[in-house]
């Protein structure tokens, strides 16, 4: 949650692993985890932030996991932890860059220019990035990782009902924006 634009919402890292001492599954090495999760994480970061910073954001999220791998590896779903970190960093980065860009445009008295769109798929993510933070995260998790409501709620640390609302509102907003005439889009 960004208190700034709104009241606080759940955000970032999950709670550390419990003190339970029984290991029910083998602990994966970070390298195996990294190689398996990185491509989708870069895609996820790119969807939420734009491709220019995707690798950096995914790498920062992985670095955060690497630094505390002994804890993260023992979580039920380590990938959910790193996806949540990535989701928050990606949206923050996008919003920060957008604010900076608007400021620069104001200073130079130019009209706000739309983000260049390469194709229909890129246009879809550009629309997603303009959704409210949580809606964008829920939509990206749903499509990129093919996650359902329960998994998204676990990833973002919020209630399933909240995810349903964001998913529904996000889809509706995307439908409204994408079906408008091309001149109006973005």
């Amino acid at each position: 949650m960004r208190a700034m634009t709104s009241v606080p919402q759940p955000r970032t890292e999950a709670a550390p692993a419990s003190d339970a001492v029984v290991e029910l599954r083998p602990i994966e090495t970070f390298e195996v985890f990294y190689r398996r999760e990185l491509p989708a994480l870069v895609a996820f970061a790119g969807a939420l932030s734009g491709s220019a910073w995707a690798e950096d954001i995914a790498q920062e999220a992985m670095l955060a996991a690497y630094r505390q791998w002994d804890v993260v590896a023992r979580l039920d779903i380590p990938a959910a932890w790193v996806r949540r970190v990535c989701a928050n960093r990606a949206v923050s980065m996008f919003r920060k860059r957008a604010v900076e860009a608007r400021g620069l445009l104001r200073l130079s008295s130019r009209r706000d220019e739309a983000e260049p769109i390469a194709d229909e798929n890129a246009a879809f993510w550009a629309h997603v990035r303009r959704l409210p933070r949580r809606q964008a995260q829920v939509i990206a998790l749903h499509y990129i990782y093919d996650l359902g409501v329960v998994e998204i709620a676990a990833t973002l640390g919020c209630a399933e009902g909240t995810v349903k609302v964001h998913l529904s509102r996000g889809r509706a907003a995307l439908a409204r924006r994408i079906v408008r005439s091309p001149e109006e889009q973005l």
Binding site: M4, T5, S6, V7, P10, A15, R35, A40, K96, L174
Partner: protein, 274 residues
Amino acid sequence: MSIDDLGRAAATDVRRKATQEIDPTRMLKQLRRKQRNRSVATAVAVVGVVAAGTILVANGALPGHHQSGNTASRPSPSPTISGPCHNALVTCLGGNKYLVALTVPVTVTLPANFQGAFAQSGNASGVFEDYRTDNANAGITVMENATPVKYDASWSQDPTAGNTAASIATWLSKRPFLSHTSLTRTIVGGRAAWRVSGDLKPGAALPAEKNGTGPVAPTFTDTPYNTAGYRPGLTGQYTLLDVPGAGVTVIWSWSNTNQGLISNQAYIDGLSFG
């Protein structure tokens, strides 16, 4: 084509591109190098702080010592490779201290249970917030030049609140949507402050709509972008102080539980202004 079809096609496309374009082996090496550099940087920063402390002692600049005419060294900004030091808003002062460039700069002594996100939103320069590492539903928002707002949908200033930290704290403690409120005096960063706690009354009206998060009982805003309020499942504690140049500054501690607020306290205790 439905939104679902578009979304799935777009996801397939972005995953395919990522798989084609990234080199995990190269990136893994880069990640490990970053971690090594960070460890070295931390060690350098620690040595720097110790050295600076030694110089301060030698110059008699520590409390209880005579101040000489020499200029004591300050710890230089940390050369940390990533994290808060990459935030344009933040100057890393070494150790766990950070200077956040709000209208009036804020020094943060970061507790271990906070991220150091120093996140900003909107185009305001008077607000940042930070988040817990051990609780996804808790954090702190610092809002300079905070405006108390009416209990309606307008997010407009409530003139009955007054314009000092003391009067606004009293106003807040009497908001009709709060119960079990308390108002206490405290000190933050050496300045007098007022702390208000309270719970949202069951069934209280939530007249102000917030983009993306639904309705709230509004409390403060500083611009059209940055707002604070109560909603079910989100409890809060507000600390207010008068900061020259930053008007009434609000430190909003928020969490889904009262225990979460208690664990936020170290962050507030580590704040100073100006």
